[in-house]
């Protein structure tokens, strides 16, 4: 892949690319790992705490408490997004803030807020899935592929 890209460049461009790369500050990978670990873990911890609350005081059993927990996490993410906090937190946290539920909610809420100016239908309705759409599409495609593999190995009939 990298070689393919290089082949299309002239010699001068290749030389320049090397010069540019020597100056470019590298992404602080170790720092990003540690921050993502802390932030992602903290979000999950909050989720776990909320789930425990639903189990202890909400009268849900362990399995059913997952649903209201997800709803609360989505709500929290959307509130933080609309307050303009989530994007700043994400610059610090990196991949940690992309943990499924809150990151997904942020991608939809941010697109909806941003494109509100183009109207409810074409703006909010049409652009809301701008970032989340690909996740759903390829998530479904991947699930389909895994389903086929499952069928071939274990045979039909499901669980």
């Amino acid at each position: 892949m990298a070689n393919n890209i290089k082949k299309n460049l002239t010699r001068v461009q290749q030389e320049y690319k090397e010069l540019a790369q020597s100056v470019e500050p590298p992404r602080p990978i170790l720092k990003n790992f540690i921050r993502a670990f802390i932030a992602g873990g903290a979000i999950c911890l909050v989720g776990q705490a909320i789930q425990e609350m639903f189990v202890h005081w909400g009268g849900f059993d362990e399995k059913k408490a997952g649903d209201p927990t997800v709803a609360v996490m989505i709500l929290l993410s959307v509130i933080l997004t609309s307050m303009g906090v989530y994007d700043k937190f994400a610059q610090w946290a990196g991949a940690g803030s992309a943990v499924p539920v809150t990151g997904f909610a942020n991608s939809m809420a941010s697109a909806a807020i941003e494109h509100q100016s183009e109207g409810m239908v074409l703006g909010v309705g049409g652009k809301m899935f701008k970032l989340a759409g690909p996740v759903i599409v390829f998530g479904t495609v991947a699930a389909f592929a895994v389903g086929i593999v499952h069928l071939l190995i274990k045979g039909g009939g499901g669980s």
């Binding site: 461009q13 540019a20 500050p25 991949a95 803030s97 941010s110 494109h115 100016s117």
Partner: protein
């Protein structure tokens, strides 16, 4: 008058009669805050959308520049402007409000000097008495068009740049006093194959170097002729690359002070801007605000402003195209009142 291969020499000495700069709250917290005419406290500027806010910025800057020149808008013959929005809507919509005959130009972030060079040429040739040149950018409208929704949580790499929310405008005329526009060099489009839209500095640096070298060659001068040469918005990464390219080409940049507008407007310590600033507004507000103020105070006699632009579109980089870049240089020298 054509001088050399790609430069204009303005022998009739057109002046920058007045300037105006309007910026947003984030720029107002930066180190150059006192050089700007208006600092807004809120990035929406009381408008309903980011695009409308950007238009409000350039409208305000244009009106203030005309007022500072002691003119009315009926006396201004032409308005030359452009911006980063698709179909340069901010400038065209501002021209609708101003109702000054309008020439829309697009040079991405090089628009500030492209419009100033054209304005000076019109005045120098006698095609106009008063010309308004201006440009603007808004961080959120640029993010929305070129990157992600503003509130979307994505981590930017250290090479990314922060688009300046601001507008700068100037009135160029033959009558009056002020800094003189002495020459300009129109740049070639240079593409060194950089594809990363989060690394504009590296993409634009070769264009800036090419234009600076062409300017010096065309005019038959040394870089030391200028007290200061500034590039538009290369920021940290592009600036460092430009320095290396000058060295590689044996170009004596050390004769003068070389700096970059994208490294002046924000405080790296307290403001989260990664490599530095970018956007049409960056070179416009730094030049029309900070640099000309320094010239008016007598600290600078001759400067060369080289505004750099990345000519990509949101579609071109998604299709995997590399980023073609351009740079336009304008030489500004202290006016008669100072010398």
């Amino acid at each position: 008058m054509l001088k050399g291969h790609q430069s204009w020499l303005f022998e009739n000495k057109p002046f920058i009669r007045s300037t105006a700069t309007v910026v947003g709250p984030f720029e107002g917290r930066g180190p150059l805050a006192k050089d700007f005419d208006i600092v807004h406290g809120e990035s929406m500027m009381g408008q309903k959308s980011w695009e409308k806010a950007e238009k409000a910025l350039i409208e305000e800057a244009a009106k203030l520049a005309i007022e500072n020149a002691g003119l009315t808008k009926e006396q201004v013959q032409f308005y030359i402007g452009g911006d980063l929005m698709n179909q340069i809507i901010s400038s065209s919509f501002a021209a609708r409000t101003l109702s000054i005959p309008y020439i829309g130009v697009f040079g991405a972030c090089s628009t500030s000097m492209e419009s100033l060079a054209l304005a000076a040429n019109l005045v120098n040739s006698g095609s106009a008495k008063f010309v308004l040149a201006g440009t603007c950018s808004h961080d959120s409208s640029a993010e929305k068009q070129f990157r992600y929704p503003t509130e979307y949580g994505s981590q930017k790499p250290p090479t990314a740049q922060y688009t300046v929310t601001g507008a700068g405008a100037a009135i160029v005329s033959m009558e009056g006093d002020g800094p003189v526009v002495t020459s300009a060099t129109i740049g070639r489009v240079i593409d060194m194959g950089i594809k990363d839209p989060f690394n504009m500095g590296a993409a634009m640096a070769p264009a800036a170097v090419d234009t600076i070298e062409a300017h010096v060659r065309d005019l038959g001068i040394e870089p030391g002729y200028y007290d200061l040469i500034v590039t538009g918005d290369l920021a940290k990464v592009g600036y460092e690359i430009a320095c290396k390219l000058f060295k590689k080409h044996n170009f004596p940049i050390e004769q003068t002070e070389y700096s970059d507008c994208g490294m002046m407007i924000y405080d790296y310590e307290t403001q989260m801007v990664q490599a530095g600033a970018s956007g049409c507004g960056c070179s416009a507000v730094v030049t029309y605000g900070h640099l000309l103020n320094r010239m008016r105070r007598g600290e600078l006699k001759r400067i060369l402003v080289v505004a750099t632009g990345a000519l990509l579109s949101p579609i071109s980089f998604q299709q995997g195209e590399s980023i073609p870049c351009i740079a336009h240089a304008v030489s500004i020298e202290a006016g008669r009142e100072i010398l």
